[in-house]
Amino acid sequence: MSNPADEAPTPARRSRIRRFFKPEMDIDTLAHLFTLVVAVAGMAKFFYDQDQAEKAENRARAITYINAYTEEPLLGARQALYDFWASQPDLVAMIRSQQLTPRNYAAMLQASVFRTGAEAPVREPLLVLDSFYSQVSFCESGGLCDTGIIDSYFCEHARRDAQAYAPFFAHLRNQSGDTRIGRELEALADRCTPPGEGQPTG
């Protein structure tokens, strides 16, 4: 049980309050104080609303990319990639059944795909995929897309695609001299957090 004497303002505190709210304070001063409080609260509300609106826009942009992933031209590009892998059943069986180093995987592709030019039908789909991930990565890293949504939906896709297509992008970089191909996907896959692996930020 607390002692009422403890709850009573100490003389020093009482004196501070009295110094601020003097008995002779007129209605104008109180009105000014009230206006000041309202202004501060209004500013806080303004910034809060701004923040909420920005977050809503970021969520909407992230969802736009989710929709784009299931529409043309991404849908066609993914279909072409499916057709490519489906045309390589022995290679797929081999790489799915064994643990490979990235170099061994790249050498398998060099030996069986790039050497024969079998990757030609997926060059354009891969550039479409790269361009899409570049946009997603830019949107996310620039704070324009909701990181939580981007990571939840795209992180696993990005990691899987970055790993599977790394030798393809390296091949395209060698062929074209464009050293940026596949780099944004790589960066996104490195920095994203897949669902269940940690708390997304943003």
Binding site: A93, M94, R96
Partner: protein
């Protein structure tokens, strides 16, 4: 200012050269990292493994000497699940070789030793690592 105008063409040429993308780079020759017994096994079974002209044979090195074809994967996917691990010390688990690569292997002298060997199919040579 007149000097700048006179040198403008040279300046523009320099600018275009620096702005142009780097030219296509020759790809690094690929290689398979194998032990001498693995490479010897591939060489000794070259006839059995060699695919028809224009095709590629996929060989799991743990299964070398068994000549059954790998089971075809019928899973539906757009990107296959691949399990990769970083290691520079481990020999490769699988190789993909053409008919020419097996012809090359048949005439290849494989160095003795316990270390890893890098087999370069395109150069048709083998180097200790």
């Amino acid at each position: 200012m007149p000097m700048l105008t006179r040198r403008l063409p040279q300046f523009l040429i320099c600018l275009s050269l620096t702005a142009a993308p780097a030219g296509a780079q020759p790809a690094e020759p690929f290689f398979f990292l194998l032990t001498a017994p693995q490479l010897t096994c591939l060489r000794d079974n070259a006839e059995a493994y060699a695919p028809p002209e224009g095709q590629t044979a996929f060989v799991t090195l743990a299964d070398c000497q068994r000549t059954t074809a790998p089971a075809t994967d019928t899973a539906q996917f757009t990107t296959p699940d691949i399990s990769l691990f970083d290691s520079t010390e481990s020999p490769d688990t699988v190789v993909a070789l053409s008919a020419q690569d097996f012809t090359c292997l048949e005439g290849l002298e494989i160095p003795e030793g316990t270390g890893l060997l890098a087999f370069y199919p395109e150069r048709c040579n083998v180097e200790p690592r």
